[in-house]
């Protein structure tokens, strides 16, 4: 459970016991620790976070020069890059890595801090690699080992049922997060290896039926996460060329999110980062115990919380889109507005990810290096970096920067969508309200006292 150790932070968790260290591995450490020694009351901390986001909206609204906004978003440097050649090599390497993860997961040491499979998947891939996707560019199509395998295998190439759209990937994302929260997936190498095998079988079977293009473009939740995160990044790939653009500039393009299913996926991506933290708060513990006390089966509590929260997030976003139609006095449908502004949520999700995982990645990277260089006999006591105290402040800064980029992207998008500049600013009122509330609830989660989630 990642959340369980958030409050104390990795540094403190590492200091306690070795058993502790193993469990701490699953958790991006520094965010909750950031508020561990507040000298101001929590409500003021939350209000300040909300105030920063609100003020940044006011500041962005000062920029009313269309030519300037367009210049920022259309600035780019283009370079030819024959990436197709390199792709064959990178995919071969990642297929070897996939087999290595499964083998070491089943055969390697059971201590998670020494097991290369655990460290590669959680520290190397989910913490470090994901961060490169939204900070630099989406290299996943060049690495995706499942896609490489699927393209080597025969396929039935059945037509993918259009009516399903992106919904299977929404379900897949929620299911993966549920599994991550309720199981010791980051502590038990054997379990992790089993889940990787299960995911591989499901993915390869799906790709064999519908063809790898349809599967990885539509169904596979992991590819979709990377595709959306990659749009936040400065490096964008177009055919055989690489474009360098300001971070977030690629998010203002139309048709990036097309349809209610894709809106749902973007909102789900934001919700799962929140859920992951929320299940570690006392409020969740009380809710879960209360629900079980009322006769709800304990196994149903986590999926129910996941789905109710997701529905609430989706509902809030839809409500904001509907009110934007009123505040902007536009004829655009709420759906059209929701589609256009959904990409502006992605920098927020990226900011939270970085805040959760950068400290975690840095602390454990020596252990990762040690385990990867000798996967079957890693050093008994891997070196861990203890992060300096100001690192927690950095985590709060990442959260806020994510929100600031989001405010700017929404501002630029509004200028693209609406012919009137005042209309564009007014269209943002409901979204800013939602964003301020969201900032405050996320900061509330990171500052809440940490408890062990019950019933897992």
């Amino acid at each position: 459970m990642r959340t369980r150790w958030l409050r104390r932070g990795l540094g403190v968790a590492l200091a306690t016991t070795v058993g502790f260290v193993g469990r701490a591995l699953a958790h991006g450490g520094s965010l909750r620790a950031a508020t561990g020694s507040l000298s101001i009351p929590t409500w003021l901390f939350l209000l300040t976070g909300g105030g920063v986001v609100g003020a940044s909206f006011l500041l962005a609204s000062f920029v009313t020069d269309r030519a300037f906004i367009r210049a920022v978003h259309e600035w780019r440097r283009v370079a030819d890059a024959p990436l197709a050649v390199a792709r064959r090599a990178t995919r071969a390497v990642s297929v070897v890595a996939l087999f290595g993860v499964v083998a070491v997961g089943f055969l390697g040491p059971t201590d998670p801090l020494r097991n290369a499979a655990i460290l590669v998947v959680w520290v190397g891939w989910w913490a470090g690699y994901v961060a490169t996707v939204y900070l630099l560019g989406n290299s996943w199509p060049a690495l995706n080992p499942w896609r490489a395998l699927a393209e080597w295998l025969p396929s039935l190439d059945r037509a993918y049922p259009e009516r399903f759209g992106a919904w299977p990937s929404v379900v897949g994302l929620l299911a993966l997060i549920w599994l991550e929260v309720v199981s010791p997936l980051a502590d038990e190498p054997r379990l992790l290896a089993g889940v990787v095998v299960g995911y591989s079988v499901a993915t390869l079977a799906g790709a064999a039926v519908y063809g790898s293009d349809a599967w990885f473009d539509r169904v596979d939740p992991v590819s979709r996460v990377f595709r959306y995160y990659g749009r936040v990044a400065p490096l964008q790939r177009t055919d055989d060329r690489l474009e360098l653009r300001p971070p977030g500039a690629a998010l203002t393009e139309p048709r990036l999110v097309d349809g209610r299913d894709e809106i749902a996926f973007v909102v789900a991506l934001l919700w799962v980062t929140t859920y992951d933290g929320f299940v570690g708060t006392p409020v969740w513990a009380d809710l879960a115990r209360g629900a079980v006390g009322l006769g709800v089966p304990a196994v149903a509590v986590y999926p129910a919380g996941l789905l109710i929260g997701f529905a609430a997030f989706l509902g809030a976003y839809r409500l904001a889109s509907r009110s934007a139609r009123e505040t902007a006095e536009t004829y655009l449908t709420p759906d059209a507005i929701a589609r256009r502004f959904a990409p502006s949520l992605l920098p927020i999700a990226a900011g939270y990810h970085l805040a959760h995982f950068l400290g975690y990645f840095l602390s454990l990277s020596p252990a990762l290096t040690a385990a990867v260089t000798s996967p079957l006999s890693p050093p008994l006591n891997p070196v861990l970096i203890v992060l300096p105290g100001w690192f927690g402040g950095l985590a709060v800064a990442f959260v806020l920067v994510g929100h600031l980029v989001a405010v700017w992207v929404a501002h630029a998008t509004a200028y693209e969508v609406f012919p009137g500049r005042l209309q564009a600013v007014r269209s943002q009122y409901p979204f800013v309200v939602v964003m301020v509330l969201y900032t405050m609830s996320s900061l509330w989660i990171v500052s809440a006292p940490d408890v062990t989630p019950p019933f897992v």
């Binding site: 300040t48 992060l387 402040g393």
Partner: protein, 111 residues
């Protein structure tokens, strides 16, 4: 902006008569917005008169944005002083309090 705006999905309330764009059929909420839309999205297809009309409408819009910006500035100032007041009420030293808010407690040693 480009021809993609033509695909904007719209719904006009039955009792309203929108100004429809002759180039992409997008219904606009007022004649001014239609002029702005045509200038922004269909500049190449406009004649000199229409271009002149766009420039005038855009300039008028900039004028009304100026007073809007003043309101924004006022709001920012209110927000700033509200926070300054709250911080000085809660703590005695707002600047160091703000800094402590983002700093973490000491870390308990190493392994």
């Amino acid at each position: 902006m480009s021809s993609e705006t033509a695909t904007h999905e719209t719904r006009v309330p039955p009792d309203e008569s929108p100004a429809e764009c002759p180039y992409c059929q997008r219904p606009l909420e007022s004649a001014e917005l239609l002029t702005l839309h045509k200038g922004l999205d269909h500049w190449e297809r406009l004649d000199d008169d229409e271009r002149e009309r766009f420039r005038e409408t855009y300039a008028a819009e900039s004028e009304s944005l100026r007073s809007f910006r003043l309101k924004l500035l006022g709001l920012l100032v209110v927000l700033y002083f509200a926070f300054l007041f709250v911080y000085s009420y809660v703590t005695t030293d707002p600047i160091s309090a703000g800094m402590v808010a983002t700093a973490r407690g000491p870390i308990v040693g190493a392994l």
